[in-house]
Symmetry: C2
Subunit: 328 residues, 2 copies
Amino acid sequence: MHMSTIYDVAELAGVSPATVSRVFNGTSVSDEKVAAVRDAAKRLNFTPNRAARTLRTQSSEVIALVIPDIENPYFTEMARGVEDVASKAGYSVVLCNSDAQLDKESTYLQIAIAEHMSGVIIATASEGSNLDPIIATGRPVVAVDRHTAYDVDGVVMANRAAGTSATKDLIRAGYRRIAYIGGPAHIDTAAERAAGWQDAITADGREIDDELLRFSTFRVDGGRAAMEELLALPEPPDAVVAGNNLIGVGAIQVLTEHGLTPPAVGVAVIGSLPFTTLSPSAVTVVRLPARHMGVTAANMLLERIRGDEQPARTVVLRNELQSASILR
Amino acid sequence: MHMSTIYDVAELAGVSPATVSRVFNGTSVSDEKVAAVRDAAKRLNFTPNRAARTLRTQSSEVIALVIPDIENPYFTEMARGVEDVASKAGYSVVLCNSDAQLDKESTYLQIAIAEHMSGVIIATASEGSNLDPIIATGRPVVAVDRHTAYDVDGVVMANRAAGTSATKDLIRAGYRRIAYIGGPAHIDTAAERAAGWQDAITADGREIDDELLRFSTFRVDGGRAAMEELLALPEPPDAVVAGNNLIGVGAIQVLTEHGLTPPAVGVAVIGSLPFTTLSPSAVTVVRLPARHMGVTAANMLLERIRGDEQPARTVVLRNELQSASILR
DNA sequence: ATGAAAGCGCTAACAT
DNA sequence: ATGTTAGCGCTTTCAT
């Protein structure tokens, strides 16, 4: 019940508290004393008090990972990448779900400051995200997935290219009236992927029909609603590009319910379809390397934590087209 | 860059540090001083140092949520429930992914102790999970989803009943040779759901064919492998009960690849199919109220944190059959 | 290599 | 209502 301290350990081992501290921090202590201390620590079931350590050193081996939707497998896959790198380096990861809400995001950032966490990896909730407080503390910040207005490191996908290759694959497969459903227009990934879609349409010598461009939410319900609207059009599309994995799920659900299971209507999804039970030949997927993004971001953050001072960098990750037509 | 302290705020506001502390902790301070302190705090961009607070009070408003698979939507849905309750009560949630590994789990539990977190909600990695250290500290622990050998509060699903109703629904739909694919046998939820399957089979007056009972992993690849084995049997099953959501996904994938898309072979899944694009009429689902489990566990934990001393309780949550046959 | 002692920022008696 | 002060457990100079 009572938590033992380095003083208890010191007394039992017959050394000073300083020596106990040294044993646990790897500075020079004679072999006998090391053994005595370890033994005493074990017998007392000693666990170093992190709060005291953090208070004293003004830092803790914890990094915060702030994401807008913990239920989206894209972000949990990314989280795995972050965690693997961080824990190998002796850091713990605190996963914070901002729920795409600015106030929750601010709260978590505030906690990161107050807890003296070593750094933050964040997929911002929106353009309005305020990183000033955390940046003002001098702590390193890495922005993932989404762009920010701040001068911090970043790791993003090749979003415009993803939009283009998804759309081109649909064109190649013979579809002619291709819609796009993206996330909120104020999130840059959504806008960029839509721009990629436009590129492909115009490159094919067609006009952009504004009715076919829909900004929604990055969730299943958003994909569903937009797909329903598209099907209700006087001249519905014969194919659709989904701006992220969950929108893809929603769109396919609606199509299936209307008896238009792909490839009856063409579907290309930007991001892997989570837990899909669909045949891979039916839907085009542009794979986004989410885990790799997490790994890259964690490595960048660790470099900064270790004192790297070079100007902010942004890494753009290549995506990978998995064409449905290959298998047709 | 420099972090201001209550001393800085006190000086600027012309009060003592204790008064500053009182302002931030809601004890009686005159209105003028409150205003002065708040103003000074704002001007200095003051954020209370949590490490110091934790050290002093020997507690922090943080609870740990330890789960075995952060990529399983079942657990993230649960996490949402925990988070909603906790954050409303002023607690932050630290999400820890044990990856079903005992050593990782122990490490996180150790961190929870060292960081003086207020309590732990844990879905254990296996029967071998060691909760002694955390329990020895006197901190409240709530076990979710899975049983433990410890005398702690728990929230679990009605697993055996889930196995039975899933199986019975398949029987009702006319299937006669019904297999079961579960998670690892050493995890009680897997074993119990399997027992429910057995109950239903025997209640129907049939023999248990051991070849039709498979213990695998609670992941997609586990479901896939087991389903492949079942299909390779001399006398393959005409239906299958999947022991969790991901096994269900894996099984359906394999069936689809073999041209046996449900209901060609009957499928019942214990747990909601995440992000499914399947028609709801094709597959029986036993919905497990994951979010509700999280909410319940968080409320129990908060009660304990507030000093509730009653004997340990276990809450069993009802599940909900969504029969495929209804829609046939 | 080891010990003594100061201090990180906060809260909670205790005193006024 | 407000101020003074001790101390939470640790790390880290500074001596020795």
